[in-house]
C-alpha cells in the first residue's frame, strides 16, 4: 500500500519542479536574493519556511470554516507571525551566530509571498492533511531553489561549502588558489542570485518546453 495516494503525492512533488514557487510562480524572490550567499543560511531558511508553511497551512485549514472572510488576512498574519517568532526564538537559543547572519530575514518570513499565497489559495479551501502536504511541498520547492542558489554562490563567491574550505585556502594559497584562481566577488552580491535564479529558470524551461509562456 502506497503511503500517499497519487493525488496527495503530486501535492508534494509538483511544487518541486513544474510548479515551483520560485522558478514558475516567481514568489519569494526577495529572500532568495538576500540570504543565499551562504549555503548554511539557505538550508536554515529552507527548514524554517518548511516548518512555518507546514504548520501554518494545517492551522489555517483547521480554522477555515470559522474565519470570517473579511478579516482572514489578519488571522493569517497572526498565525504566520506566531510561527515565525517561534522559529526566531529557537534560532536565537540554539544557533545564535546564524540568527545574526539571517538577521531580519527570519522575521521577514511573515511577508514571504509563498506563505500567504498558499494560505489563500490552498489552506482556506482544503482539509488539514492535504494542506499539510501542500505546505511541505511548496516549502520544499522553495528550499530546493534556495539551496541550489546558495551552493553556487558560496562555492564560487567564497570557495567554501557550509564554511568548509572546498577549493583551498585563499590566504595560504593552497588548493586551487595556488594556480591563480580567485574568488568571484560578484557572486556575493544579491544581483548574482537573481542571475543564478534566472539561469535555473532558463534550464528548467528549455528542458520542459510546456512551461514556456505564449507572448
Amino acid at each position: 500500500m502506497a503511503l500517499l495516494t497519487k493525488k496527495d503525492a503530486s501535492l508534494i512533488l509538483d511544487p518541486l519542479a513544474d510548479n515551483n514557487p520560485i522558478t514558475i510562480q516567481v514568489l519569494g524572490i526577495c529572500s532568495a536574493l538576500a540570504i543565499t550567499a551562504e549555503l548554511k543560511a539557505s538550508v536554515v531558511m529552507a527548514i524554517s519556511v518548511i516548518f512555518v508553511l507546514g504548520v501554518g497551512n494545517v492551522v489555517i485549514s483547521l480554522m477555515r470554516n470559522v474565519i470570517p472572510s473579511k478579516i482572514r488576512i489578519i488571522v493569517q498574519l497572526i498565525v504566520v507571525a506566531t510561527l515565525v517568532i517561534i522559529v526566531d526564538q529557537v534560532l536565537k537559543a540554539f544557533a545564535y551566530e546564524l540568527s545574526k547572519t539571517l538577521s531580519v530575514f527570519v522575521g521577514l518570513i511573515i511577508t514571504n509571498c509563498i506563505i500567504m499565497g498558499r494560505f489563500e489559495a490552498f489552506a482556506l479551501g482544503n482539509g488539514p492533511w492535504k494542506s499539510f502536504l501542500d505546505g511541505i511541498g511548496n516549502a520544499l520547492g522553495y528550499g530546493v531553489i534556495l539551496i541550489i542558489v546558495g551552493f553556487f554562490r558560496e562555492l564560487l563567491g567564497s570557495g567554501t561549502l557550509f564554511g568548509y574550505k572546498v577549493l583551498g585556502d585563499p590566504v595560504k594559497m593552497t588548493g586551487l588558489y595556488s594556480t591563480g584562481y580567485e574568488n568571484n566577488g560578484f557572486m556575493i552580491i544579491p544581483p548574482a542570485a537573481l542571475i543564478v535564479v534566472g539561469i535555473i529558470i532558463w534550464v528548467q524551461r528549455s528542458r520542459n518546453t510546456a512551461l514556456i509562456e505564449d507572448n
Binding site: G180, G185, F186, M187, I189, I195
Partner: protein, 427 residues
C-alpha cells in the same frame, strides 16, 4: 579528386553546400561571408539594398579601433619602462622615436595585449558559434566589435582566465539570453567590464594594475607604481603626477589598455562620424554633458564650498575640460555610448542620452569612493534608460503632430466630435 587545386574560397563554398540545411551550416557560412563577399543574390522580388551590411559596419568600427590598439601596444611597454625608471629615480624624457615607438615597447605590447585580444575573440566567438548551431540561425556579427573593445577597456595585466570567464558571462547573460545580436539591453563589452569589476575588484582598481608587472613586483625591492591620474586626484594628491597636458591628450599615461590616447580616439570618432556609422549627436552631447558637470564642480570649488581637506577636492578642482582627456571618458563616448543597439534611437533622444552619459560619468568619477572612474557605469545606466527616453520622445512627437493636425484647416475649429475621433485613432 584534385581538391588541392581548389582555392580556400571554393572549398568553403563546397562545405557550405554540403552542409546546407544541416546543423553545422551556420559555422561554415560565417567564415565564408566574413572572409569573402557572398556570391549569392536574392532570388525573389526586388529589394533596395545598402552596400554596407552588418559585417561591413562592424569592420568599419574595427578599422577605427586599429590605431588605438597599435598605440596601446607601444604605450603598454612605454609605461612599464617609465615606471621602472621612476622607481629608480631616473629622469625620463619622452621622445617619440627614441623611447616610445621602439621594439622593446612593442614586444611587451605583443606579449601582453595580443593574448587579451586572442582570448576575447576566441571565447566570444566559440560561444557565438555554439549558440548559432543550437538555435539554428546564422552566426551574428555582433561579437566582432565587442571582441575588439573588451581587451582595450581592461587593465593590461588582467589574468586571461578572468577575461575568459567574464567574456563568457557577458556574451551569454548580456546578449544571448535576450535573443542575440541586436536584442541586447546592455552593451556586451561594458557588461564584461562590469562583471570583471564586481567579481575581481583587486584586479580592476587600485594603483597597481594599470602598468605591466606592477602587481608582481608589489612589495618587493623593485616595486613600481601604476597609479593613474584619476587615482592621484582621488587621493587628493593634486600635484604629485608629472604628466603634461599633451601627455594626457596623446595618451602617454597609464590606464586601461586602449583608453589613454584621446587623440587617436578622436581620429577614430571622426572616421566613424564621416562614415556615418556612429552618431555625432551622442558624441557631441556627451562631451557637453561632461563639460557641464565639470564646470559645476569647478564652480563649487571656486565658491569655496569645498575645502582642500575634503575627500572630493582633488577631483572637483580638476579643470573641467581635462576630464575629457584622462581616464576612459573619450573612449566610452566614441566607441561605447554610440552603440546603435543599446543607445537611443531617436535623434532628440540621442541628445538626452549622450548628455546624461557625460554628466553622470563625471559625477560618478568624483563621488565614487572606491573607484575614480565612472564611464562604464554611466553608459550601462543610460543603456537601461534609452528605451524610456525614446518612448517619451515618440509620445512628444505624436502629441505635437496631433496639435498641428487639430489646428489644420481641414476641420472646423469648433467641431469637438472630430477631435475626439482623432484621439481614438491614435490611442
Amino acid at each position: 579528386m584534385s581538391d588541392n587545386r581548389l582555392t580556400f574560397k571554393k572549398r568553403l563554398h563546397i562545405l557550405k553546400h554540403r552542409y546546407r540545411g544541416k546543423k553545422m551550416a551556420p559555422a561554415f557560412n560565417a567564415f565564408h561571408t566574413f572572409l569573402f563577399s557572398p556570391d549569392e543574390t536574392t532570388h525573389s522580388g526586388s529589394h533596395i539594398r545598402g552596400a554596407d551590411d552588418l559585417k561591413r559596419t562592424m569592420n568599419t568600427v574595427i578599422m577605427a579601433l586599429v590605431p588605438v590598439l597599435l598605440f596601446s601596444m607601444f604605450n603598454t611597454g612605454y609605461q612599464h619602462y617609465a615606471a621602472i625608471d621612476a622607481a629608480n629615480g631616473v629622469a625620463r624624457e619622452l621622445s617619440l622615436w627614441g623611447n616610445f615607438f621602439t621594439w622593446e615597447n612593442l614586444w611587451i605590447g605583443i606579449t601582453q595585449v595580443l593574448p587579451l585580444v586572442i582570448v576575447s575573440y576566441g571565447v566570444g566567438l566559440i560561444i557565438e558559434f555554439i549558440f548559432a548551431v543550437i538555435k539554428g540561425h546564422e552566426v551574428e556579427e555582433g561579437y566582432l566589435v565587442t571582441g575588439m573593445l573588451v581587451p582595450l577597456i581592461v587593465p593590461v595585466d588582467t589574468p586571461l582566465w578572468m577575461l575568459a570567464v567574464a567574456v563568457a558571462f557577458g556574451v551569454i547573460i548580456g546578449k544571448e539570453v535576450f535573443g542575440g545580436t541586436g536584442m541586447n539591453i546592455l552593451n556586451p563589452a561594458l557588461t564584461i567590464r562590469a562583471f570583471l569589476f564586481f567579481a575581481y575588484p583587486t584586479w580592476m582598481s587600485g594603483d597597481k594594475v594599470w602598468v605591466h608587472e606592477a602587481v608582481e613586483r608589489a612589495g618587493g625591492p623593485d616595486a613600481i607604481s601604476g597609479e593613474t591620474i584619476l587615482g592621484y586626484l582621488a587621493q587628493n594628491k593634486v600635484d604629485e603626477y608629472s604628466y603634461t597636458i599633451s601627455d594626457m591628450f596623446f595618451g602617454f599615461i597609464p590606464g586601461s589598455v586602449g583608453e589613454t590616447s584621446t587623440f587617436l580616439i578622436l581620429l577614430g570618432g571622426l572616421f566613424l562620424i564621416f562614415s556615418k556609422i556612429a552618431s555625432w549627436r551622442i558624441m557631441l552631447s556627451a562631451v557637453i554633458g561632461s563639460l557641464v558637470m565639470g564646470l559645476i564642480f569647478n564652480g563649487v570649488v571656486d565658491a569655496g564650498w569645498i575645502t582642500e581637506t575634503s575627500n572630493f577636492y582633488g577631483l572637483m578642482s580638476f579643470e573641467f575640460w581635462k576630464h575629457l582627456i584622462v581616464g576612459g571618458l573619450a573612449f566610452g563616448i566614441v566607441y561605447m555610448a554610440t552603440d546603435p543597439v543599446t543607445g537611443s534611437q531617436t535623434n532628440r533622444g540621442k541628445w538626452f542620452y549622450g548628455f546624461l552619459i557625460g554628466f553622470l560619468s563625471v559625477m560618478i568619477r568624483v563621488f565614487n569612493p572606491a573607484y575614480p572612474e565612472g564611464v562604464f557605469l554611466a553608459i550601462l545606466l543610460m543603456n537601461v534608460f534609452a528605451p524610456t527616453i525614446d518612448h517619451y520622445v515618440i509620445r512628444g512627437n505624436v502629441a505635437r503632430r496631433m496639435k498641428r493636425l487639430k489646428n489644420a484647416t481641414i476641420f472646423p475649429k469648433d467641431s469637438d466630435s472630430k477631435e475626439e475621433e482623432l484621439k481614438v485613432e491614435t490611442v
